[in-house]
């Protein structure tokens, strides 16, 4: 059990393991932008953080990657009413660390394979739900 001593468990100290890793550097920021749909192209695609080898084709030249990242940062900064500098400043990092919903900002819901709380068919194409009942 998680250790506590008070009857009402108010001293239930959350284990440090269970704290989200703060977004504190460029790589984490890139993952955030990619995870929540701020990298353009395939939704949730995102740009490859430095050193990542995309299997299919040569990564874009560093300059293009930097410009793309700056553009994504600017879009994120705009909607969060931050100065759209395109630079990863403290205010932008703070906005990235605020409690948030896990659904990307550019789609109504998560679209990957539904979780297996109940085995279900392949994800339906966006739009009206499939008429047939999902098979178990």
């Amino acid at each position: 059990e998680t250790l506590f001593h008070s009857r009402d468990r108010s001293d239930l100290a959350p284990s440090p393991l269970r704290r989200a890793t703060p977004i504190a550097d460029l790589r984490a920021a890139q993952r955030f932008l990619s995870k929540y749909g701020w990298a353009e192209g395939r939704p949730g695609a995102g740009f490859a953080p430095p050193g990542h080898r995309s299997p299919r084709r040569d990564p874009p030249p560093a300059g293009a990657r930097g410009a793309a990242l700056a553009q994504s940062l600017r879009r994120f900064q705009e909607v969060n009413a931050l100065p759209a500098s395109g630079k990863l400043d403290a205010a932008t990092l703070a906005a990235m660390n605020r409690p948030r919903c896990g659904v990307p900002d550019t789609r109504p819901q998560l679209q990957a394979q539904a979780p297996s709380t109940a085995p279900r068919p392949r994800p339906a194409p966006p739009g009206p739900r499939p008429r047939a009942r999902p098979r178990r």
Binding site: R18, P99, Q109, P115
Partner: protein
């Protein structure tokens, strides 16, 4: 690749409400369940289920969808499944990150997960993360709403700590109604309830509240906010003491210098309501016992009635039944001309054939609009008012304007599932 140029500063995430989102369900009643393997360790199970029931009800109060908690059906048939988990959870490919940052997510097939490492709290609490707010947000996603950065929206991606009470604002209501439409349905009766007050200067004032009745439920309509009261509908039984619990035919408020009488009609009887004591009279100051037969209290008036309203200027009650209207003189206590008239004769159509003709659901005098409205099914017809005739003298007295749809004028009068009625 990020090389492609991006739209300019007014960029909105694709699928944002400006783009509208996508409707996710075609049926009218959706089932939901808090999955057994996904109970939270922070709130009692009853509290978790109550909060989810309330979250679904808040959406149901503004769209023609009902939500039913289904604890027994096969899991695969449940439309929306909710669960709490930590880290790797509930077979979900998207791992939660612990306290802070991501607190929940929603899948397009209707699964909603909450990170149980977060400090979720009940609606009354002003600390932690309101489970109700997060649940309403995630249900909004499952229904098809994307994130928006519009201040005040429940669909903002980040959690906005604010006072414990929150509601769906106008724009969120319009965004979801763009996907599921507005609420429709006939009413049994509609009326304005006058309350007399004293101003600070001791002057007598009167305030009115607008009510819609349907079956065993009622809504208070807040005209200044263009919506029903948060948390309505409620049971007639709980709000109106001593009158029939459902299917009221008519309400009439006879209000003259010397009289202030409020009557509910159902079948062949009527009840007088005591506004001060907020209950039906059993016997009034004139020694009359209630309920009374309509034929006793209003000689010449048939029953059951379709509806009725009181015209303060003419001091007449208009009783409607079928295609006829009975003009009842309250001073002489009898029907004018001792016979009914055709509704189309007393209230002529302005546009030929655009008239309710018969079987009204409700004839409602609205103090907000200073007009009489005939409600029937999902439509209404406005009767020419004195104000209309001052502006357009050629309009026939008591003429009936062309038909319009009720949800165009009175917004968000929505049913909820009976299982969530007395929340």
């Amino acid at each position: 690749s990020l090389q492609t140029p991006l739209p300019g500063p007014d960029w909105q995430p694709r699928g944002s409400p400006q783009g509208g989102g996508t409707r996710a369900f075609a049926k009218r009643t959706l089932t939901w369940r808090l999955v057994r393997e996904g109970y939270s360790s922070q709130l009692s199970l009853e509290e978790q289920r109550y909060i989810f029931r309330l979250a679904f009800r808040m959406w149901s109060e503004v769209i023609p969808l009902n939500f039913l908690e289904d604890l027994t059906g096969p899991g695969a048939t449940i439309d929306i499944k909710l669960g709490f988990g930590r880290g790797r959870h509930l077979g979900c490919p998207r791992v939660f990150d612990g306290i802070g940052q991501e607190f929940a997510h929603a899948w397009h097939l209707g699964d909603i997960h909450f990170d149980d490492d977060e400090h979720f709290t009940p609606p009354t609490s002003s600390v932690g993360i309101s489970l109700l707010k997060v649940a309403v947000h995630e249900i909004g996603h499952v229904l098809g709403l994307p994130h928006t950065y519009r201040a005040g929206s429940i669909m903002q991606p980040n959690y906005i700590p604010q006072g414990p009470a929150f509601e769906l604002d106008w724009s969120d209501r319009k965004a979801i109604q763009k996907l599921y439409g507005s609420c429709e349905g006939a009413f049994d009766t509609a009326f304005d309830w006058i309350r007399k007050d004293r101003s600070h200067a001791g002057q007598g004032t009167a305030r009115f509240s607008t009510y819609f009745f349907r079956s065993g439920w009622y809504w208070l309509y807040e005209n200044r906010n263009n919506r029903t009261r948060y948390g309505d509908p409620a049971l007639i039984l709980t709000g109106w003491h001593g009158v029939p619990a459902q299917n009221i035919d008519a309400f009439v408020h006879v209000w003259t210098w010397g009289r202030d009488e409020r009557y509910f009609f159902k079948g062949n009887r009527y009840w007088r309501y005591d506004s001060d004591r907020d209950q039906a009279h059993t016997e009034d100051e004139q020694g009359k016992r209630y309920p009374r037969l309509i034929s006793e209290g209003f000689p010449g008036i048939p029953s059951p009635l379709d509806t009725a309203f009181y015209d303060r200027g003419k001091q007449l009650i208009y009783f409607f039944r079928g295609s006829f209207v009975f003009e009842f003189d309250v001073a002489r206590n009898h029907v004018l001309g001792s016979r009914p008239k055709k509704m189309t004769e007393v209230f002529p159509a302005i546009e030929p054939r655009d008239h309710p003709f018969r079987n009204l659901d409700s004839a409602y005098y609205s103090y907000a609009h200073k007009s009489v409205f005939f409600l029937k099914g999902n439509a209404y017809w406005k009767v020419v008012s004195d104000g209309d005739r001052r502006q357009r003298p050629w309009l026939p007295p008591n003429g009936v304007f062309p038909k319009r749809s009720i949800p165009e004028t009175w917004f968000d009068v929505c049913d909820v599932h009976a299982s969530t009625l007395s929340m």
